[in-house]
């Protein structure tokens, strides 16, 4: 064995000289074969070791073939360092202490950083062989005077990386032999690889445990979610869903692995095509947010309503590729809808109550205005009257009444908007079509609003020859009134407001141009939303309830027209809307 642990070049020399066969060479070949068999036996022991203690046993067995020693120690790099002490027999405390000190010095020589012998001694793990634990064993007696007389430290190396240190100590002198050093290093290399494999296996197991824990935690979260959550594959077939989603989708009798689109083709469930559409939208790469879906029975006052958001799932971080599925969140918003419904009903009731006194105010104001007009006419026709008509007290009264009338009409429009809110909200905005001239309605509304807008000058610019139209006259007047109210409100310093009517083939285009504050870009997407109001600035308060443009849009949409706005180049904004001269579909009634 001793000859076999010479340096590697000597082994090569032996191999190269094999062909000049002679007796001594045959002996050396036999020795090499024995060495290989021996290494193979050691290797098998290390390969069979599945935990670090089995590696320790294999190492101890291999080393004992070479030497008789007091203890074998394994120091593994890491944070913190790990030190395992495997004694051959019970060791005295001073021997143990001296060993730790020597290990720390050897580790420092190999540039192990921040190694502290006291810390090592505290955390050292004593891996005593089983036979030492046998009761009554003589080996239990502590042997030795505590002095180390032989020591050997060999780096544990894996792929040119030192992972630790193997240390052997003995109380006898000259235990270790230079001739066996190479073989001991080979054994240390086996041990190093085996320990690294154990470390990797432990790390892998820890990662698997962590992954499993995370998976269970995620499942628990998804199961406990009040919101429904469903995940589809790339074809739109549900592959996973939580309990809430299962409850919502129960009426569809859905089957996993059948695309929702396909399911919708044969299903009687009315809302399923819309759900499939939302999923398909996300599958095309587009995020669908806040899509409302009524899945309850139509007979219910407020049916079960879901708010659905769906997003495409991409593999890894790549968003450029086709989604591999969709994740959708289904949120029950029925209670919000109930609250909305109650609010709309309340608003409706209050509006009705307001309308009755308003009608009376409007009627009596009109009556008073006519009486004063008659009186003015009478005074004007009296020969002895030499006061100009405009300076008559009655004329002042008439102007005041005009303001009251204008404001009453403004109030009436607000009340009408409130009344219309619930109709628009629930899609029940009815139109009463009649033939009229659009120019007339524009003129009447402009006149009415001008009466209470003393700071503003309203212009009517009719650029169409024939302005006859079949539409809901009152609703159209409401739209113009709402937009004009807005134009005046957001032109606090007065100025010009122009109402321009143009004929464009089969439709009319109405532009209402003001010189007010304009619309900031952050409001662009919301200005036609209900209850949306341009925020008051610190210096300026703008009254209103945020319904005028919402109702106006609903009325124009219902007529089959379009409504939009743009900011003017210098100041103010222009609201535009189109109205078909004739409805595209024949109105019933």
């Amino acid at each position: 064995m001793e000859s076999s642990v010479q340096s590697e070049p000597q082994v090569e020399d032996v191999e190269s000289s094999t062909f000049s066969s002679s007796e001594p060479h045959e002996e050396r070949l036999t020795a090499i074969l024995q060495e290989m068999e021996y290494l193979n036996t050691i290797g098998k022991r290390f390969v069979a070791a599945i935990d670090r203690f089995q590696v320790h046993r294999a190492l101890l067995a291999a080393l004992r073939d070479q030497y008789s020693f007091s203890a074998c120690c394994i120091l593994l790099k890491g944070d913190p360092f790990e030190l395992f002490i495997i004694p051959s027999y019970p060791l005295s405390a001073s021997f143990l202490e001296a060993m730790v000190q020597r290990i720390a010095s050897a580790a420092s020589a190999l540039d192990f950083l921040d190694i502290d012998p006291r810390q090592l001694a505290k955390t050292a793990y004593l891996d005593a062989p089983d036979e030492l634990a046998l009761p009554g064993s003589q080996k239990q007696e502590k042997i030795g005077d505590g002095e180390i007389r032989s020591g050997l430290n060999i780096p544990l190396t894996v792929e040119n990386r030192i992972i630790g240190l193997l240390s052997l100590f003995d109380e006898k002198a000259s235990t270790f032999d230079t001739n066996l050093l190479q073989l001991t290093t080979m054994i240390a290399d086996y041990a190093a690889v085996a320990l690294e494999n154990v470390r990797l296996r432990e790390r892998e197991n820890a990662l698997w445990r962590q992954a499993d824990f995370e998976r269970q935690r995620l499942e628990l979260i998804l199961r406990s979610m009040a919101e429904g959550l469903l995940i589809t594959d790339a074809h739109g077939a549900i592959i996973s869903l939580n309990q809430s989603a299962q409850r919502y989708l129960a009426p569809t009798n859905f089957q996993r692995e059948v695309p929702l689109r396909k399911l919708a083709e044969t299903s009687d469930v009315e809302w399923l095509p819309r759900l499939a559409e939302i999923v398909d939208q996300a599958l095309s790469g587009e995020v669908a947010t806040n899509q409302e879906l009524v899945i309850g029975e139509g007979s219910e006052t407020v049916p079960l309503t879901l708010n659905i958001s769906a997003a495409p799932l991409h593999e890894g971080d790549s968003v450029s590729t086709r989604p591999i599925g969709v994740v959708a969140v289904l949120n029950d918003v029925t209670s919000s809808k109930q609250v909305e419904r109650l609010k709309d009903e309340f608003v409706s009731v209050v509006s009705h109550e307001l309308r009755t006194p308003l009608t009376a105010i409007k009627g009596y104001t009109q009556h008073l205005a006519r009486r004063i007009e008659r009186r003015i006419r009478k005074v004007r026709n009296t020969p002895e009257n030499n006061v100009p008509v405009n300076e008559l007290p009655e004329s002042y009264d008439l102007r005041s009444l005009s303001i009251i009338q204008g404001q009453t009409e403004h109030l009436e429009r607000l009340v009408n908007d409130l009344l219309d809110l619930s109709q628009v909200q629930w899609g029940k905005l009815d139109l009463h079509y009649e033939h009229f001239y659009l120019a007339d309605v524009l003129a009447e509304t402009v006149r009415s609003i001008q009466a209470s807008a003393e700071l503003h000058t309203l212009y009517l610019d009719i650029q169409a020859q024939d302005t006859s139209i079949l539409a809901d006259r009152l609703r159209v007047a409401q739209v113009i009134g709402n937009i004009l109210d807005n134009a005046i409100k957001y032109s606090p310093h007065g100025g010009k407001v122009t109402v321009r009517l143009e004929g464009l083939g089969k439709e009319f285009l109405v532009n209402i141009i003001d010189e007010g504050i304009g619309v900031s870009t952050e409001h662009f997407d919301h200005i036609f939303e209900r209850f949306y109001r341009v925020h008051n600035t610190a210096s300026q308060q703008y009254s209103g309830i945020g319904l005028g443009l919402y109702v106006a849009k609903a009325i124009i949409d219902r007529h089959g027209g379009r409504i939009w706005f743009s900011n003017n180049q210098n100041s103010g904004s222009t609201f535009h809307f189109t109205l078909p001269r004739r409805p595209r579909t024949i109105p019933l009634g």
Binding site: A106, A109, L110, G151, L152, N153, P155, F176, L181, T185
Partner: protein, 125 residues
């Protein structure tokens, strides 16, 4: 082991470095088959860390393997260091390497190798 700076005034830094690198190379040649290929490299790094307080210009050997030391590195890292200082520093480094080797294997390798290295350094001088 006698340091090389006895007559180093006539020796360049490159020559000093080359002589000590050869000495370390000899240690590596003898140690690698017995303790593995990487041992000498980390012994040199550990030794450099221990001497760097006294010889700060050797700090680069803590992070850079001695096998990477070429003339351009010497120019870059050792500007302003005299041959005498360099020889003293490298000698201390070599002593620490042997001390480290003794920590590992006691007297199994170090004494004969020490003589061999000493002999080689004397020959270069």
């Amino acid at each position: 082991m006698s340091p090389m700076h006895d007559n180093s005034s006539s020796v360049s830094r490159e020559q000093v470095t080359e002589a000590y690198l050869k000495a370390i190379g000899l240690i590596d040649e003898r140690v690698a088959p017995l303790l593995g290929k990487i041992t000498t490299r980390v012994l040199v790094q550990g030794a450099a860390r221990r001497v760097m307080n006294e010889y700060p210009f050797l700090h680069f050997l803590v992070t850079r393997p001695y096998t990477d030391i070429v003339p351009s590195v010497i120019q870059e890292q050792l500007s302003g260091v005299t041959s005498t200082e360099l020889a003293a520093g490298l000698h201390a480094l070599l002593d620490e390497c042997f001390a480290g080797l003794r920590e590992l294997t006691g007297d199994l390798i170090a004494p004969p190798l020490h003589d061999e290295v000493d002999h080689q350094l004397r020959q270069i001088q």
